[in-house]
Symmetry: C2
Subunit: 351 residues, 2 copies
């Protein structure tokens, strides 16, 4: 008896907002098992925002583009249903976390599952079924989103008790974990989502301190006012899952030495043009943009600085150009010169 | 005989681009010395871009606003010319780095100089005259700009031999130091300034690898093309002193894990409106914007993650909301739902 497969393929690349027509569901017979093949029954497949980035043709990114006409590969949990006669070390019933197609069944050579073969995306990781974790949790709480939430929150956010964290897409795959980790750590949690139902969930189930719908504040100005109201002591950590004007608003309300965890920018993924000032690239390139002020480094670095620089000056390794103005009267001119490139070197007034 | 003083006061607050009329130079007699007073002859005063930020009325910032009608206080080197009869531990000839007015002379109570009194800005730091450093260098190479260059480059930039650094305002008070530190450290240095004269200085005196005038590339598109040409391996560190479209261009050419040292945004300081996406605030608030990708944290954090999270789940400290779709057919709908807030919780397909 031939099994029937149902698969979701990429139909074509979206131009701007993704539409239903960009994907297509097709039926096909599941191929016969070769002696080295494994028949997998996919238990669950994950749908994640970063998939949108893969629906672009020939774009260099940290994950390859989906191919037109092919099944879309996503985070999945799959279970071995049947094995070929020559398959070893893989048993019926084994479960794996993997990248696999959005489809009912998949037939793969055993090498791929064992990691001997080549697979474009992450390897198959066998699930320890003694863990008290249901299958789908390997795609969520214990999968990429949950691990993302945990790692970015702890390692990048460096949270401290009593701080205020603001979280967008707060009921999403990542956000809800962040909300809870932050509460456990003793932070004041301000969360944002889209509907009254979600707001209720955030307040009642997750016990966040403040929750509101971004739909009530549809532009930067009103959103910023709302943020100032619900974050009277400013924001110490912004866990950004949305980008766009909400990121801009949060930046306005951030405290000194605040951390913006740029986890994703879902509001931007369907734009035809890039986000105007390329903030989006900060994420994909894992850039660190750190604002700096002199006050943060001195006087504590003074000694090290002098020790390093005086010999460099004495050895002539360092020269220094100055633009010296005689007379206090020149101060305005000297100052204006900073903005029209009229000065050359360090501007100094000799009064 | 009464000494005549010449002082530069803030005449009024600029509205947009600062003009000469915003400042005014005035003459006045130097007051008689009281028994606790010190007469200072100011040897040199620094003119720095951050002064523009102080020419705003009632703005909360890391340094207070200049006061209308008052002498503008700046980084200065000053020397004791005369002391009152009751002054102790301060001698004629002593030199200090300090914040002091842009003026010929200043009379101050000895407490201010000793740090016993209150001064709104940094304290008076006595200069060790045995150092082989000329006075004005305490405002430049060994003052705020030079220390800024050194600290931000080393501590924030974390430079590595062979990397490419891009530096704007490269002949300025900060930039020229960065260019040289970077060359000494074995980086490939690409520098930007405004005139052929400065470009010549960068190439011949500072020996940078590439230098060009931003005036030849007056918009984001042409500037980005130029950057790609002179940085064929991308930019690892951008030492940003200008902001605006040049920052936007540099972001496009940054390498993964690149560091943007946001030191200043001189192109923005005279704008009436804020920089559109508030990037400017990253500097004044010393924010760290760190783009994050899952790949950077896993699998290495996997163990710690599981150890921390499994007990939390078992204790019920963590709950997790899912939005489960039955059937591959639901995949498109589920995916679209990510962008229109129709999903609630972690989206999962059960195929």
């Amino acid at each position: 008896m031939t099994l029937e497969n149902v698969s979701c393929i990429l139909n074509n690349y979206p131009d701007g907002m993704v539409t239903v027509d960009n994907m297509k569901v097709v039926k096909s017979p599941v191929p016969e098992l070769g002696e080295n093949d494994v028949l997998l029954k996919n238990l669950c497949c994950s749908i994640d925002p970063f998939m949108r980035g893969r629906m672009r043709e020939n774009v260099k990114s940290y994950v390859p583009s989906f191919e037109k006409g092919k099944v879309m590969q996503v985070f999945s949990v799959t279970q071995v249903e049947k094995i070929g006669s020559a398959v070893t070390d893989i048993n019926v019933g084994d479960k794996y976390m993997c990248f696999n197609g959005i489809e009912k069944y998949t037939v793969l050579p055993q090498q791929v599952i064992k990691g001997d073969g080549k697979q474009s995306l992450g390897s198959f990781t066998k699930i320890d079924q003694r863990n008290p974790i249901k299958d789908s949790f390997y795609l969520g709480l214990f999968g990429m989103p949950g691990m993302t939430a945990w790692a970015f929150f702890n390692k990048v956010g460096k949270p401290k008790e009593g701080e205020t964290i603001f979280i967008t897409a707060a009921t999403g795959a990542v956000g809800q974990v962040v909300c809870q980790l932050a509460k456990l750590k003793g932070l004041r949690v301000v969360a944002c989502a889209s509907s009254p139902e979600k707001i209720g969930f955030l307040k009642q189930a997750l016990k966040v301190d403040e929750a509101f719908s971004y739909r009530d504040f549809p532009d930067k100005k009103s959103f910023t006012e709302q943020l100032r109201k619900v974050c009277p002591n400013g924001i110490d950590i912004y866990y950004d899952n949305v980008g766009g004007y909400i990121l801009d608003s949060a930046l306005e309300v951030m405290n000194i030495h605040g951390r913006v965890i740029m986890c994703g920018m879902i509001s931007q993924y369907n734009l035809k043009d890039k986000y105007q000032y390329t903030l989006r690239d900060i994420t994909s390139r894992r850039l660190t943009l750190q604002g700096c002020l002199f006050n943060d480094f001195f006087p504590q670095c003074m000694g090290e600085f002098m020790q390093d620089m005086i010999p460099k000056l004495e050895k002539g390794q360092i020269i220094y150009k100055e633009d010296i103005y005689e007379g206090v009267e020149k101060a305005p001119e000297a100052f204006i010169g900073l903005f029209n490139s009229n000065n050359f070197g360090k501007v100094v007034i000799v009064p």
